[in-house]
């Protein structure tokens, strides 16, 4: 049977099939996540046991907090995106980062190591205009100590930074932006801003594997996650890693931390208790060497007993961190399933239209 070619109708119909199937797949994934959350009872943190658990509580800071890029809000997770238009996919800036935090319920708190987590956090900020109300671009570093000292707070207060800048955003009119010229300014028209984040004090549901801290393979690595953007995420890019290796081979980059930073690479040097003798001028006062206890403490990175239970991602039990109480999280996932089923209908309808067009029953 000869097929009738009608690209005006057939191409959108094909796209409809593909989009419908994509929406259905997303809905099915949401259903699997929602079922997993709904089928796991909430554990009380004080009575928690090793294995897969669901906990529900509020977010508390651990050692560090993040500052969100678009609204400068202190948080433990953010996903921010700036696009040239609401509908388009022309992304100007995109970043997703998280740091370790604690979740607290009425009975106690539990440390969460978020690396590899699936985040389900709705947008808190979504606006399209030249300079929307509520846009307060981050002007300082993304990471900050959770409990800053008095001196650090005074230094923050006295630091003057150019307004409206966002480190890493091409064209943001900030001091540390690599490209000046005001891409975010009025001269280039409105942009679409989206930011979702998990702030301190927010209600959160966490589903993952509880294990003793001592069993965590890489605590420092598990504590910071830079899915998109940020220096650690860049290192995971094979092209960037190859460039770094080439720069090392060409002698443009030092081969190790010791070569690059000298004494500063010695653990404890910065606080005057180096773990091994530094190379100092003869006239300089020698520094006391850290005791074995201090050394162990510096090397541990986290001041946490090995038997302390923590929650982290594992190969067997993926870590899910979702904003809100469990019933809200399940509701969001079930909404995705309903949309996914509508996607299946879209795919079927598009397939019927495609078939009718191919057989010449519909002609544009």
């Amino acid at each position: 049977m000869p097929f009738t070619a009608d690209p005006v109708l057939q191409l959108p119909a094909l796209a409809g099939v593909a989009i419908g199937l994509g929406i259905l797949a997303r809905g099915m994934r949401g259903h699997i996540v929602g079922t997993r959350i709904a089928d796991t009872a909430t554990s009380t943190i004080s009575a928690i046991a090793v294995g897969e658990v669901r906990v529900h509580g509020v977010v508390e800071p651990a050692e560090l907090t993040l500052t969100s890029p678009l609204q400068s809000a202190p948080c433990v997770y953010y996903r921010a995106r700036i696009r040239a238009s609401r509908e388009g996919d022309d992304t100007v800036f995109q970043e997703e980062r998280s740091v370790g935090f604690r979740i607290r319920d009425a009975s106690g708190s539990l440390r969460v190591f978020p690396r590899g987590a699936q985040w389900d956090v709705p947008d808190r900020f979504s606006d399209s205009s030249d300079w929307p109300a509520g846009l307060r671009l981050r002007s300082g570093p993304a990471l900050a100590p959770a409990n800053p000292s008095h001196e650090e707070l005074v230094a923050q207060l006295l630091t003057v930074r150019p307004a409206g800048g966002l480190a890493g955003v091409p064209g943001s009119s900030g001091g540390s932006a690599p490209f000046a010229g005001g891409l975010l300014g009025a001269s280039r028209g409105p942009r679409h801003y989206e930011e979702s984040r998990l702030e301190l004090g927010d209600e959160v549901t966490v589903l993952g594997r509880v294990l003793p801290f001592g069993d965590l393979e890489d605590p420092a690595g598990a504590d910071v996650d830079e899915a998109i953007g940020g220096p650690l995420a860049a290192l995971a890019d094979p092209e960037i890693a190859a460039d770094i290796a080439a720069a090392r081979a060409a002698g443009l980059l030092e081969g190790s931390a010791e070569e690059a930073w000298g004494n500063a690479a010695i653990p404890g040097f910065g606080i005057g208790r180096p773990t091994r003798p530094p190379e100092l001028d003869r006239a300089a006062n020698p520094l006391p060497i850290a005791t074995s206890d201090d050394r162990a403490r510096f090397e541990r990175t986290f001041d946490m007993a090995p038997g302390t239970l923590v929650i982290a991602a594992s190969d067997e039990v993926p870590l899910i961190i979702a904003a809100g109480p469990p019933h809200q999280v399940v509701g969001r996932q079930e909404d995705r399933l309903v949309v996914g089923l509508l996607g299946a209908l879209l795919a079927i309808a598009s397939a019927v239209v495609l078939a009718a067009s191919l057989s010449g029953m519909i002609v544009t």
Binding site: L24, D39, T40, S43, T44, S46, A47, E52, A351, A356
Partner: protein, 191 residues
């Protein structure tokens, strides 16, 4: 094959895929629920065993001073001896509830003995057993919540259609029966 047949095959295939997806995820979720119940139960047993191991130490620490309170000590000892991990869930639940009640009574009696309250080892044991009692209560709640989710799931569509062929039956709650609150009739040894 004509385009119309292809479209029909695609539509039917997609609908079947969605139906199989629901059956597949339902089967997997019920299996996961049953495993979660087993794990929750194993965690209760760990806590019960820990309390079981601490009870002789407590009785040993207080028995010389509490010469006139032998009935409560005897009850704790008998209940400890009456617990076994091989018992069915309701029997273990009844034993656990009775042990908790007996321990509450024992701690109330200990409060009347200043010489016991001044002993560090008695206080440590009391704190440890009270901690374990809290853990048992929390884990029992978790277990029952998990059983509730399982029993509800297998009674609902679509799992109810799979329950028969796969032999899924409702699980028992960790719930003491009516006799658990009754005071056990313990005969004091004479002499």
């Amino acid at each position: 094959m004509s385009p119309a047949s292809l479209a029909a095959a695609f539509s039917i295939g997609l609908l079947l895929a969605v139906v199989f997806f629901f059956l597949f995820t339902t089967y997997n979720s019920v299996v996961a629920l049953r495993l979660r119940i087993d794990k929750a139960w194993a965690n209760i047993e760990v806590a019960l065993q820990q309390r079981h191991d601490q009870l002789p130490n407590l009785v040993e620490a207080v028995k010389d001073v509490m010469t006139f309170e032998r009935d409560v000590l005897e009850r704790v000892t008998q209940l400890r001896a009456g617990w076994s991990r091989s018992q069915p869930v309701p029997a273990q639940a009844a034993n656990s509830a009775a042990t908790s009640a007996a321990l509450r009574e024992l701690f109330a009696v200990v409060e009347r003995y200043p010489e016991l309250r001044s002993q560090d080892n008695v206080l440590d044991l009391q704190n440890e057993i009270e901690r374990l009692e809290g853990i048992i209560a929390d884990r029992r709640e978790l277990y029952n919540d998990q059983v509730y989710r399982h029993n509800t799931r297998i009674a609902q569509v679509p799992a109810v259609f799979l329950a028969g062929p796969f032999g899924w039956r409702p699980r028992e709650f960790f719930d003491a029966d009516e006799t658990a609150d009754e005071r056990p009739d313990v005969a004091l040894p004479t002499g």
